[in-house]
């Protein structure tokens, strides 16, 4: 089992009020699943993604990743888990503007303290997998939206993570480019990656095999295709 959430809660204090972003979430995700999390804004889907992605910690409950309890870890331990286990793809790409595509893709390897000589080869392989070898030495502002998202996907893949987390990965792309990007995710799925998509677009969610719907911080439905 890759992900196990039991009785997960997340509460924010906003002024004197408590906002219950997540309430009693139980969820299991297996290796090799392709899942979408859906829900209207404010439903808690971003909060859930942040916790699953180890960017945030729950207020209560248990989160086990690959059987390891991670809900109580400190900053640096979470950073190590993100480095080793999780690849993020963001709606706004979040590439570093001063670095080339190559350097952006290389960065997670550097933080994972990979061997420098092995690094370049790995970066080229990964860029090839997303079809971007020719644009490797361009900066993000010299790339199209679709190309930028491919760089971001390559960056997410470079450390061979157990889980790819994509937050509205097609949200800033036109629908044709969006379909191309979804094609890449389908390919990754076929090669055995575990993918969790966060989206509010039905047609995007339909690429996945399991759809979780959130409403007011609770799981409303959990449907497998």
């Amino acid at each position: 089992m890759l992900i196990e959430l039991e009785g997960l809660e997340k509460t924010y204090e906003v002024g004197s009020e408590s906002v219950h972003a997540l309430v009693d979430i139980d969820l299991k995700v297996d290796d090799n699943e392709y899942m979408a999390i859906m829900g209207p804004s404010g439903s808690g889907k971003s909060t859930l993604m942040n916790i699953v992605g180890c960017l945030d910690t729950p207020t209560a409950g248990v989160y086990r990743l690959k059987g390891r309890e991670v809900s109580m870890l400190d900053d640096d331990d979470l950073a190590d888990i993100r480095s080793a286990e999780i690849g993020f793809v963001f709606q706004t790409f979040n590439l570093l503007p001063r670095m080339t595509a190559f350097q952006n893709v290389e960065l997670p390897l550097i933080y994972a303290r990979g061997d420098r000589k092995a690094r370049a080869e790995r970066v080229w392989d990964t860029l090839e997998a997303v079809g971007l070898t020719e644009r490797a030495h361009h900066r993000p502002n010299e790339l199209s939206g679709g190309q930028r998202q491919r760089v971001a996907i390559a960056r997410a893949l470079i450390n061979r993570p157990s889980l790819i987390l994509a937050d509205e990965p097609t949200g800033n792309l036109d629908s044709r480019t969006g379909e191309e990007i979804m094609g890449i995710f389908n390919e990754l799925r076929a090669r055995g990656n575990t993918i969790i998509l966060v989206t509010h677009e039905e047609y995007i969610a339909e690429h996945s095999e399991r759809i979780i719907r959130l409403r007011d911080g609770r799981i409303e439905s959990d449907l497998s295709a």
Binding site: D56, D76, A79, S83, M99
Partner: protein
Amino acid sequence: MDFRETLLSAMRALRSHKLRTMLTTLGIVIGASALVAVMSLIAGLNSSVAAQFQSIGTDIISVGKYPWVQMGDEEDYWRRKDITLEDSEAIGRLPSIGLVAPNIHTRRNVSHGGTTMRFTLVSGSTPEYETIDNFPVSEGRFVTSMDVDRRRQVVVLGADVAAELFPIVDPLGRDVRVGGKRFTVVGVLEEKGDILGSSQDDLVIIPISTFEKAFGSRRSVVVDAQPAEGVPVDEAVDDIRQMMRVRRKVPRGEPDDFAVNTQDDLMSSYESLTGVLYFAMTGIVALALLVGGIGVMNVMLVSVAERTREIGVRKAIGARRRDITLQFLVESIILTMLGGIVGIGVGAGLGFLVKALTPLPAAVTPTSVALAAGFAIATGLLFGVYPASRAGRLKPIEALRYE
């Protein structure tokens, strides 16, 4: 994250804000250049003073109306009663004193044939002057006691005067005119070189008795003395002062109305001069580094704020707290190091300028360069710690949400 990558990343960040980087380092540039320039000035002073000390005898005691380092009103010194040849003889009779050489000075034209040297220093003295004041002769002889006794019209030429008036022929035995009076050249002095741009070789020495006959005797005498063998300079100075106070009838409790100069006086006034320079420099440098450091901290805080999202992304893809902290710390150190390098360049330039345009032989010292570099780096470290640790502590989700 390895150090090479951290370094490259910091360089990239600084390159993308060239103007800001330059302005930020200004304080550091000023601090570093002040440090290097002032220390090169002091090094120049040191070497010229060392030369000066070498040209005077080391244990010389010089008694006169004027102190070597004058403080206050010139007129107060000028009004003092003259020192006389009798005073000189009395000093010479003191058991604690070895040799004495009374000497008097004026400035006159010195000429030979059609060539004239204007306002050359003319010194009248005795044979002992050669030893006490260190005037070795390169050719011929110095003034002898016979010359003094007989008031001979003889002259010993300084190296410059000899070279100027006798470029080709040997000056020995030739006649020159000193202040219009005829003198026969009996010797030429060894070259002493320049101190702070003024030549020490533009002088002539004649017997003191001849001097008084030719140029008048109503001048205050300077008595240069050497302590007797084995007598410390301090003791000799005390003896001279006591005797001179009695001779000049200085009432008890009144200050001396004459000056007893030693190298120690010169040394201590020199040390107080460099002390002031060091003090002023330390002030300027400390202030500039403080201002520079605050500037660096400010810019680094701005930079952290601007790059909050970048920090969030870096953390999301696996950067630890210390990776981020180190990245910003290295950035601020590079920032101040650049300032230090430019400052060292500017300071060295100022030093060379002083050397080229003034007689002071300013010299850039490795110590000052090392100090400037060290202070620059320390400033970057000190003022970079806070912004850098703030960057490192940012929470990834908050940083990622930052617009």
